[in-house]
Symmetry: D2
Subunit: 345 residues, 4 copies
Amino acid sequence: MTRAAIIGAPGYAGVELTRLLLGHPSFEITLATSNAQAGRAVTDMYPSLGGLTSLVYTEPNLEHIAQMADVAFLAVPHTAALEIAPQLLLAGLTVIDASADYRLKDPEVYERWYQVAHSSDELLERAVYGLPELDRSTLPGAQLVACPGCYPTATLLAAAPAFEAELVAGSRAFVDAKSGVSGAGKTPSASTHYPTVNEAIQPYKVGTHRHTPEIEQGLSIAAGHPVSVVFVPHLVPMSRGLLATVYLDLIEPMSSDEAVELYRERYANEPFLTVHPAGRMPSTAEVRGTNRAHIGVTVDRTGVLVAACVIDNLVKGTAGQALQCANIVYGYEETAGLLIPAPVV
Amino acid sequence: MTRAAIIGAPGYAGVELTRLLLGHPSFEITLATSNAQAGRAVTDMYPSLGGLTSLVYTEPNLEHIAQMADVAFLAVPHTAALEIAPQLLLAGLTVIDASADYRLKDPEVYERWYQVAHSSDELLERAVYGLPELDRSTLPGAQLVACPGCYPTATLLAAAPAFEAELVAGSRAFVDAKSGVSGAGKTPSASTHYPTVNEAIQPYKVGTHRHTPEIEQGLSIAAGHPVSVVFVPHLVPMSRGLLATVYLDLIEPMSSDEAVELYRERYANEPFLTVHPAGRMPSTAEVRGTNRAHIGVTVDRTGVLVAACVIDNLVKGTAGQALQCANIVYGYEETAGLLIPAPVV
Amino acid sequence: MTRAAIIGAPGYAGVELTRLLLGHPSFEITLATSNAQAGRAVTDMYPSLGGLTSLVYTEPNLEHIAQMADVAFLAVPHTAALEIAPQLLLAGLTVIDASADYRLKDPEVYERWYQVAHSSDELLERAVYGLPELDRSTLPGAQLVACPGCYPTATLLAAAPAFEAELVAGSRAFVDAKSGVSGAGKTPSASTHYPTVNEAIQPYKVGTHRHTPEIEQGLSIAAGHPVSVVFVPHLVPMSRGLLATVYLDLIEPMSSDEAVELYRERYANEPFLTVHPAGRMPSTAEVRGTNRAHIGVTVDRTGVLVAACVIDNLVKGTAGQALQCANIVYGYEETAGLLIPAPVV
Amino acid sequence: MTRAAIIGAPGYAGVELTRLLLGHPSFEITLATSNAQAGRAVTDMYPSLGGLTSLVYTEPNLEHIAQMADVAFLAVPHTAALEIAPQLLLAGLTVIDASADYRLKDPEVYERWYQVAHSSDELLERAVYGLPELDRSTLPGAQLVACPGCYPTATLLAAAPAFEAELVAGSRAFVDAKSGVSGAGKTPSASTHYPTVNEAIQPYKVGTHRHTPEIEQGLSIAAGHPVSVVFVPHLVPMSRGLLATVYLDLIEPMSSDEAVELYRERYANEPFLTVHPAGRMPSTAEVRGTNRAHIGVTVDRTGVLVAACVIDNLVKGTAGQALQCANIVYGYEETAGLLIPAPVV
C-alpha cells in the first residue's frame, strides 16, 4: 500500500480526498492534518464516514509527514502550497497539489492574478498539470502534480477538442460557467449564507476570476497559439456541481452530429467521459458524486459551436481528479477507487 | 375603476396578475376564468390570497367577458390567444396578451418557430409590443398589447442600449440565460419534478428555444439592422428569477465606467430599472417579487461588454409587465400597483 | 403621519419592518439606525427596495431618535433592548420591541433562560405581550409592546384554542416545530452555511430553546393553569417559513370536524387567520411574505388533536406582527399596511 | 456470484438497488426489468452510471427471470408484489421485496390500510420482516424478505430500544417524521412539482399514512404489548433524507446520558448505526447516500425522551436495507457492498 497524507484534511477538498482514498485498493491514508481540528476524530466531524475509519486529525509537521507518508495530497489554500510543496519534495515525497500554486507555468502570470510573488518558481518546470484527458503522458512518475481548478477542468474538456482540431475561428472562447456553493469552500461568509444564496443566481468576478489565466493557458496549448477567454462565473443555488457553457466561432460550418462525432473520437478511450448524442445537454445531476465529465455539443443556427460540460466540482473538479492523477503517477489502474456508483438523485 | 378579466387565471401568470390587480388602485378584477377550476374560490386554490378577494373562477364565456370587463388579460398558452384575442377585440375589449401569439411581427417566423399557422395575422400590425423601457410611445390607447416573453425582456434590457448606441461590432449577441422553474408553468412534468431539478443546472433547447426570434426582432429594431443571437437557456434550481448574461463585441474599447454611464443615461427615467455601479453584478434575489430589472455592466480585459440583467420571470417577465403596459394604455401612473415592497429574503 | 424609527434596521427583522412600513398609510419611517451600516443607503444594501425610499442608515443616537420619531421599532438582539427601551420610553416614545427582552413576565425566568439578569424589570408590568389574536384588549395606547417570538406565535395560535376550551387532558403539549434559516438572522455561521443547511433537516436545542418559557407562559394563560411543553425546533432547508406541529391529548373524544369548528369560531373575526377544513394541512408556502397564519386541525385515530400552524417567520413571526400591534396601539385599522398580496410561488 | 434480478428497475428504489448491486462483490445483476423502459440502456436513462454497466432494461417475464436469476429484488408498487412474489417463490427464487405487501402480519390490517384484499396471505407467515438491527435471527436462508418502509425504519430504530427496555409509560409514541421528496417516487405530480415543494414544509396524511400500522406492529413487538402511534409525516424541500423525531413518556426519570448509554449498548455491534453523545442531534446530511442510521437521544426538562433518527430514505430506507437483508440471507458479510463512502456535502 502506498501511504498517503492529506494536508488540510477537514476542508471540502480534504474530506473528499479522505472518502475517496478510504475506498482505494492501493492507497492508505496514514495522516490527515489540520491545525484547527487536530485531535478530533474524522468521523466526529464527518459522521457519514462512520464505520469507515478511525483516523484522527493531527497537526501538520514536516518530519512526521515525511516519516509516515509516500505521497502528500495538498488540500490547502493557494500560497500555502508554495511553502509546503518544496519541503515535501525535498523530503522525498510525491506531491499531488490540489491548490492553484503550480498550475500556471509563468510565475509572472501567477503574481499578476494572485497578487503575491511565486516563491518556488524553480519547481514550475517540474510540475505536471494534471488533466489526464488532455495529456496524461507526463504524469507517470511525476513528483509534483498541479491539479487543475474546477472551472478550468470543465472548460478545457468542453473546448479543447475544437481547438485541437483547428475548428475555431479566431483565438477566443466565451465561457459562461456556473458553480454550486461548495466551490467557495467550507468557511462561512456573507455570500454563502443560506438565505443569500438560496433562490438566487448571480454572476461574480466578471473578467477577474483567477481561473481565467489557467483556462487561457490550457486552451492555448490545445490550439497551438495564444487563446483568450471571456470568462464569467456564476454562483448557483446548489451544493455541488459545475457547468461550463462554452461558445466557439467555427471556421467552417459543421453539423451537430459531426461535432458530436469529433468529440466522441477525441474522448473515445476516456473512462470518465461521456459525449451525449446531438440534441441532449448534460445536467450537473448526472455527475454528482462521481469523477465523470459529461459533454453536450450543438452547432446552432448561426454556426456557433456550443459545448457544455458538467462535472462535480469536488470530485472531477478537485479530489477525484487528484486521485486519478495519483493513480497514473503510481502506475495503478487509472480508475482505481473512482468507480464508486453515486446516488442518482 | 376599469373592469378587468383574467383569462386563464389559475396558472402562474394568471395568479400573479390576480395578486397584482388586487392591489391596484384603478383596475378591478371582475372575472377570473378557468375551465379546470371553474366554481372554485381563488383563495381555496391560493390560500395566501386569503382575506383579499372573494373571487370564484368561472368558465370562460365570450359574452360574459364582454359584459363584465373593459380589459382582458390573457394568461393562456400560445395558440389559445390566436382564437380569443380577435373575438375580444371585436367585442370592444382591450386585450393585454401575455402569450406569445402577437409578439412576432412576421407571421412566417411565427409559423416556423411555433409549428402552427398564424390564424389572425391581420392583427399583427395593430399589436403593440409591450416593453415600455424600449418603446412606450405606441402603448397609450393601444387595443392589443403583446407582452414580451421573460427571456426577451431580460435580454433586450441588457443588450439594447449597446445596440442603440451602435457600440456593437458585427450583428450578433451571445445570450446565456438562466431561469427558475416557474417559467415552465404550473403543470407537473418529468423535467420539473423536484428531485430532478433540485441540485442540478442544465442547458436546454440550445438554439431552438422559441424566444430566439423574439430576441432577434427586438435587437434588430434596437440596432437598426438585422441582429442574430446565439441563445442558450438554462434551468436553475429555484422557483423564480431569470438572469440573462449577454456578451457583445465592441467596435471600440471603452471602460466599464463608461459603459455603466451609457446604460444609466439610457435608463435614467425608468422607475423599475437600476444599473449597478461598475464591478457589481445583480442577483435574481434583488428583484424577486418585484417588477424591477437590475443590470450590471462590465467591459472585460478582452474588450467584450458583458451585460447581466435580472428580473422576476413572473413579474417583470410576465404579469407585472402586462400591468405596466395596461397602466400606460389607460393613462394611469405607470407604476400604479407595481410598487409593492417585496420580501428581501 | 406617525413618525417611526427602526432601531437595528439592516437585519432581517429590520428590513422587513422597513419594507412593510414603506407601504403603510399612517406610519412614515424617519430613521433607520445601524452602527455597522451608518451612511449607507438602504437601497444600496437592499436593491429590491429600489425606487421606494431614499433612506440612509444612521448611527443610533438617543436624542436624535427622540427628536425624529414618535414610535421606535426595536429590531435588536436580546439584552440590547434592556438598555434602549427604558431610555426611549423616558424620552416619550412608544416602543414596539421585536426582541425577547420584555416577553417573559417573570424576570427570574428570563435570567434562567437568557443567562443574564433583567436590568429593567420594572418595565415588565407595563409591557404588553403583542399577540393580538389571543388578546388585543391591552394593546390600544400601550407604550411598550413585547412582540412574541416566531415559534411562540405559531405554537400559541395552534394550541391556545384547545387549552382555552379546556379540551386538553393534563397540562402538557408536544411541539415539534420547523423553521427556515432566516430565523437564525443575517450573520453567517457554520450552521447557516449553504452546503451545510441545504438538503438537510436537523433538530436543535432540544429542550433548551429560549422560546420554551415563552410558549409555556402563553399556554398557561390560555389554560388558566400551568402548562409545560416539550419543544423541539428543527432547521429546514428554506429561507423563510415556520411550521409548528402541536400534539394535544384530549379529555374527551371529538371529531376533526368538531375541532375545526371550534377553531373557526375562536378565530372567526381574525383578519389574518385561516382554519383549513378537516383533512387539509397548511404549507408554509401559503403564507410566505404575508402576515397570515394558517391552521390545520385533525383528531387522529388515537384521539390526539394535531394542530399545525404555518407563518412567515419574518412577517407574522416578527415584523408583520410588530406592525399589527402598532396599528392597534395607535388605533389604526389593524390590517393597515399588512394586506400586501404576496407572490404565491 | 449470486445472480440478481431487479424487478421495476428504473424507479428510484430500483436504480438505487442497481447502483448498490453494481458495487457488490457477490451479487451480479443479470436482469433489470421495466415495462416502460424495456430496450433502453440503464446508462442512457441514468448517465451517472456511465462506465459501470451495459445493462439494458427488459420486459419482465417470469420464465426469463427464473432462468436468469437466483434472487429477485422487487422495487414495485404495493399490490404488484402480491402477484409476482408467489410466482417467483414457486419458481425457486429468493424474493427480497421492497414493497409494502408482506410487511404487515395481519392480512386484515393490510386490507384496511391498503383498501385491497391480500391475495397471497398464505405467504405472510413465511415472510421475514427485514430490519436487521431489531431482529436478524430469522433472515439467514429466508426465502421471502419484506423490507420495512422508510418511515418505519427510522421510527423503529429510534423508539424500539426504549420500548424493549420497558422504559416507556403507557403504550404510545408520538412520531413527527420528515421526508425528502424522493420518497414520493419518480412519477411527477402536483405535489412534487418543484415550485410547489421548494421553500415549503407541510404535514400530510395526518393519522392516515399507510406506514402507521407497520410502525405499530414493530413497536408492539419491541414492547411485548400493543403500542399505538400518533404519526404525522411531513414533506421537506430536499431530494433525499428522512428524520423521525419520536416522543416517549418515561415511567421513571433518567438522564440524557443514561438514555444515550442504553441506546449505545443496544446498538453496540451494529455496523451501520451511530448514537450521538448527549446534546448532539443528527442531521439527514450525515447519512446521505449511505446505509447508516444516526440517532440522537435527549431527555428533556419534563422527563420526556426525545429520540431522533436520520436515514437516507432510498438507502437504509429502501435499497440499502434490502441489500443488507440479502447479505444476511445468503450468509455474506452483512456490510458487503454497503460501505461506499458517500459525498459529505
